[in-house]
Every structure is written in C-alpha cells, then in structure tokens.
C-alpha cells in the first residue's frame, strides 16, 4: 500500500489543476517567454571595442581577457549573476558593427539572438562614437527584441561637454539608456536593475517602434510581411517585419531561414519584384537604400537630442599630436629605428641581471659540485636568461 500525506494530495491536485489551466496565450509567450521564473538570459552585443567584456567582467566578477583593440572576444563567454533575487545568465558575444551575415562574428551574434532568444539584449554603445554605434541599435529595433542600451565610456564622453539628452533619445527609441563606465564599474548595477525592470515589463519607456523607411520601402516591407505572416505558427519566434526587411536587403540568411515555409516561392518572387521597383524609383541599390534610411533615422534622432560642444573642442587630441611626429614621412623612420634600438638594449640590459645572479651561483657552487651537475645548472640558467629576454620583448612589442 502507498500512502499520500494530506500535503502531497494537495500538491498533486494542484499540479493537475495547473496542468489543465487552459491554453496559453501565444502573444504572452512572445512578449516574455519565461516571465516569473526569475531566471533572465541576457546577451551583450555591441561594436568592437565598445567595452562589452569590461562590463561582463565587472558584472560577473570574472577575469576575461580585454584589450584596447578590436576583436579580442572571438567566442562567447557565459556567467551567472545573482541580483535582487534574480539569476541573470549573461553572455558576452563578439563585437560587430552590423547584423548582416557577411562575417563569422556577425553570423554568430545573429544566430544567437534569433536562435536562443535571450530575454533582454544589452546593447553596449561607445558614447564617443554615437552615430556608428547606434546603427547596430537600429538593427536590433528591426528585430523586435527587448533592448537596454549601456551608454559606455560615459566619463570620457562627459569630459567633452557635449549636450546630450540621452533620456529623450531613450524615449524616442523606446529603449532605456543607462550611462555606464565599464572600467570603473559605474552604472553596471543600474544597468542590471533596468534589465530586470524590462524583463518584468515594469519599464514605461519600452515600446516597439518601427524605423520609418519612407513610403515606398514601407509598402514593399508590408507586402512581403503579409506574405510571411500567412504561414501562421511556423514563424512565431522572429518578427515577420525583420525578415521582410532582410529580404529586401538581399540577405541570404533570411532566404535560407524562410526556405522551408510553404509559400516561400511566392515570397521570393514578390521580393525580387519589389527590389526591382525600389531600385528603379531611387536608382540605388536596395541594401544601400535601407542603410541610408537607418543612418537618416540616427541623424534625425541625434539632431534633436545631441549638440556637440563647439566652443571648447580641442583642435588636436593628444594622440593626434603624437601621431604627427611618429607617423611623419621623414621623421617616422628614425623614430621607429630608435624604438627598436631601445627595445633591444632593454632586452639585453634587463636580461643581464638574472645572468649575473646565475653566474655567481655557479661560481659559489662550482667547488662543491661535479661537472655534470654544473652542466645541468648551466642549462637551466641559459633557459632563464632567454626567457627573461623573451618576456621583455613580448612586453615591449604591443607598445610599438
């Protein structure tokens, strides 16, 4: 005989009741797949060298490699953070300028967002390069994913004394913008709290906006979008508008993603028709047309919210002044050779120090040990010396 306690009975009946609690609203699934589970998957995306890994490291307390040049992160890293009772799974993706499928990184980031559906995408933006960084943001807007923008390197940006109303821009794009300083860890907790707010749909700023591509392009988009939407259920996870835009951009990834839907043949024909129409009207490649409109949107949004500081702008930055000397047509070469000479000198001078220690060690132990032992010692010594030389070399090379 098997007994069930009163509590167990209650639990079981509960679970049965929940199991038959009616159907699930499809729209609800789309907006927040796992709302209430308190586990949030977030992905860091952004241009190369915008500071994604720095933010990742600070948020997760890990120590991934960062560098002041592009392309340091070549595969994605994951970490778990606990904040305010939530478990946040954070993934650091490689840097991309765009989400077209031309380079492996772009393809990787795009596949991740479309394939794994992170609950919230954190778009890291280099505040001193707004226009170009926002291009990726416009692509995320097209994808209809939930985005929080981290306005990174905000301290350097603030030094320039430009007028920038980021709250107004956030309102305009329907995306919360949080200023952060990744290197000092400023604003990162605010950023994560905002992510939680967006996930829980408590953030009033968040709304889906569409970038207006102009009447002709919009008509083409909606024609293709209607065709895609006819395949109900097949394509519920990704926005039909996103695919329509990508098809107009002659994107191969979108074609292969849609190749399995029943009316793909018709979609293809209509797309080609619309592209021809548009290229005839504008006398411009359809890809360029959409890119132009995106930059137009960015320029318009920045015109209303951003005003560069004209008065106090330095004519030349520090690096530019250094550049005029070391990249000079004539002076450049002697300076380069000088640097090389200094490097070699440093290699041998610094290498001399352990060499002297070792030599004295050999003379001290020389009387006591046999010839064989001295040979072994000598081998280790020369290894240490050459190692120090290499360390010095490798240390100086990146500076050059």
């Amino acid at each position: 005989l098997k007994w069930l306690s009163a509590n167990e009975v209650l639990e079981r009946s509960d679970s049965i009741q929940n199991g038959f609690a009616g159907t699930i609203d499809e729209n609800k699934i789309k907006s927040s797949p796992r709302k209430g589970t308190k586990v949030i998957d977030i992905a860091l995306v952004g241009n190369p060298n915008s500071g994604k890994t720095t933010i990742f490291n600070f948020a997760s307390g890990s120590n991934e490699r960062v560098g002041n040049y592009s392309g340091v992160t070549i595969d994605s890293k994951q970490a778990k953070i606990k904040l305010d009772g939530y478990t946040i799974n954070i993934i650091d993706l490689p840097g991309t300028y765009s989400l077209t499928a031309y380079t492996p990184e772009e393809l990787h980031v795009r596949k991740y967002i479309l394939g794994f559906h992170p609950d919230v995408v954190v778009n890291v933006i280099d505040a001193s390069n707004l226009e170009r960084n926002l291009y990726l943001t416009t692509q995320l807007i097209d994808m209809d994913v939930k985005v929080v923008v981290a306005l990174n390197m905000y301290d350097e940006f603030a030094k320039k004394n430009d007028k920038f109303d980021h709250a107004a821009l956030a309102g305009m794009m329907g995306i919360p913008i949080i200023p952060t300083v990744g290197a000092k860890g400023k604003g990162i907790t605010d950023l994560l709290r905002k992510v939680i707010d967006v996930y829980e749909e408590r953030e009033p700023i968040v709304r889906h906006i569409h970038i207006n591509y102009g009447i002709n392009v919009e008509m083409a988009i909606s024609a293709i979008q209607d065709l895609i939407e006819q395949n109900k259920g097949l394509d519920s996870s990704t926005s039909a508008r996103f695919y329509a835009i990508k098809l107009l951009e002659k994107d191969k990834g979108a074609h292969s993603a849609l190749s399995r839907v029943p009316n793909y043949h018709r979609i293809k024909i209509i797309t080609e028709e619309k592209i021809k129409e548009l290229e005839k009207i504008y006398n411009e490649d359809s890809e360029t047309l959409l890119t132009d409109s995106k930059y137009g949107f960015i320029a318009g949004a920045l015109k209303e919210t951003y005003e560069p500081n004209k008065l106090k702008r330095k004519l030349k930055t520090d690096t530019e002044i250094i550049d005029t000397f070391i990249t000079h047509k004539i002076f450049g070469f002697p300076i380069f050779i000088l640097f090389l000479w200094v490097m070699f000198q440093a290699t041998f001078k610094i290498g001399e120090v352990p060499q002297n220690w070792i030599e004295s060690l050999v003379t001290i132990t020389g009387d006591l040990t046999t010839f064989l032992l001295r040979m072994v010692l000598w081998l280790i010594c020369s290894l240490v010396v050459s190692l120090t030389e290499w360390v010095v070399l490798l240390y100086f090379f990146p500076i050059l």
Binding site: S98, T100, Y102, E131, R132, D292
Partner: protein
C-alpha cells in the same frame, strides 16, 4: 572625383558609393553614406591609403579595398 583625389587636409562630401556586395555593404554600414562630410587627415602615397575622418570617426581606407589589419 574619388577619395584618393583628395589631398591631405582637404574635405569632401560623399555623393556616391561605388563597389559591390560585401564591400559596399560594409562601407555603408560604417557610415559612408551619401551626404557625409569626409576629411582626409593623413595621406600615404606609398601604401595608397588615406586616414580619414567622418562624423567624428577616424578610419584608414586603403585603395585595394580591404580594411587594414
């Protein structure tokens, strides 16, 4: 007139982006779009390259089209 007809320190406004496929897409995505002001801040005849500036971004353009390193 192309970017390579500009001398060091000269400015120009983009009226047309030539090229095809991935290169064209990449370069427009980087912000080389019609109507943008471009400044040549450094020219190098040896490498056939131009270090240029457009809306605050500095870039190096080499004539064979491939972005350097």
């Amino acid at each position: 007139m192309t970017l390579f007809d500009l001398q060091q320190g000269e400015q120009g406004i983009i009226t047309e982006v030539r090229g095809k496929g991935a290169f064209r897409k990449r370069i427009t995505e980087m912000g080389f779009v019609k109507g943008k002001l471009v400044t040549v801040i450094k020219e190098s005849t040896a490498a056939r390259s131009r270090r240029i500036q457009y809306h605050g971004i500095r870039n190096l353009i080499a004539q064979n089209g491939s972005p350097p390193g």
